[in-house]
């Protein structure tokens, strides 16, 4: 099945998230208190390696395994980037986890985080419900 490869990439990503302690609530507290370089190092070097990879893909016109041209859709600015970003930041510092780590924490055995994940799904659903009324 063609989605198995995505499951495998997710699995490897989940292992890295746990092994680097990125899913730790304590690491996020440390990051927002500017008392350690760890999280900044992880995110910064991830961005750098991803950026170089994308430049190489574009420069040498590397195709996907199905011989397709790699397409990265452009993001257009809307004020949700700001308002939503601030709201997510508030939540991130409380839960100590963004969506990826929420999944990894559940796998790690913190079953109570399934409640956090369900609540995040509810938050996403509520956004869909009131989207038209929000400034964008």
């Amino acid at each position: 099945m063609k989605n198995i490869k995505h499951l495998v990439v997710g699995l490897l990503f989940g292992i890295i998230l746990v092994k680097s302690e990125v899913i730790s609530w304590f690491r996020i507290q440390e990051m927002f208190r500017l008392q350690a370089f760890h999280m900044y190092g992880v995110i910064g070097s991830a961005i750098l390696v991803a950026m170089i990879s994308i430049l190489l893909i574009k420069r040498f016109q590397i195709k996907t395994i199905d011989r397709q041209t790699v397409v990265i859709p452009d993001k257009t600015f809307h004020w949700g980037n700001v308002y939503g970003g601030l709201i997510f930041g508030l939540g991130w510092a409380i839960t100590g986890a963004c969506p990826g780590p929420l999944f990894a924490q559940i796998g790690s055995g913190f079953m109570v985080i399934t409640v956090t994940l369900l609540s995040a799904v509810a938050g996403t659903w509520f956004y869909g419900l009131i989207k038209e009324k929000l400034p964008h």
């Binding site: 680097s20 993001k75 939540g91």
Partner: protein, 186 residues
């Protein structure tokens, strides 16, 4: 093997996370992002005739497989590739959190906040339920999270993602410095 079982330093983990971006692009032209999975779950399970959830989520189901993989990876890393122990955070952070009311430092998360017994206390409810709601609402409103905006967006030179990432950090600083000390006392 002993080396793998120790926590990995940032200069190993960060570049590996960065490689997820070209891996997804080259395996199937997919852009790295996780918060979309929450939207797909809504579209699949509770669309409720809301326009935002009227789309063919099955076309995006790779994202749900990716998320499922993260759960499995979390399980494997914790049960097979780790030795139990404290997270070695800066002692200054630990002392501060101790003063603010955190007692358990034995795992990745403080169990005196994140557990089923705490869920029905005011503090537990705020950290487990309200926090999750803000994460789900905020990421969708912002159009992405740390993976979709901070890593995928910035690395592909999209300035709206840089704006969003700065706002993630500002929101986090406001919470950590101004509000969290009170929430921890609840």
């Amino acid at each position: 093997m002993e080396y793998i079982k120790q926590p990995w330093p940032w200069y190993i983990a960060g570049p590996l996370i960065g490689l997820v971006v070209p891996a997804l692009l080259l395996l199937g032209n997919k852009t790295f992002g996780i918060s979309s999975s929450l939207r797909h779950i809504c579209a699949a399970c509770i669309p409720a005739n809301i326009n935002f959830f009227k789309y063919d989520w099955k076309k995006e189901s790779w994202n749900l497989f990716f998320a499922l993989g993260i759960i499995l990876g979390g399980f494997i890393a914790t049960d097979l590739l780790s030795v139990p122990g404290n997270v070695h955070i800066n002692p200054a952070t630990a002392n501060l959190l101790r003063q603010q009311g955190v007692k358990d430092f034995t795992g990745l998360l403080p169990k005196d906040i994140f557990s089923f017994t705490q869920l029905f206390t005011l503090r537990g409810f705020v950290f487990i339920v309200v926090g999750g709601f803000l994460v789900g609402f905020g990421t969708r409103y912002a159009g992405g999270c740390t993976s979709g905006h901070a890593i995928m967006g910035i690395s592909s030179l999209q300035w709206p993602s840089l704006v969003a990432t700065c706002c993630f950090m500002i929101g986090g600083f406001i919470m950590t410095w101004l509000i969290l000390p009170f929430l921890l006392q609840l």
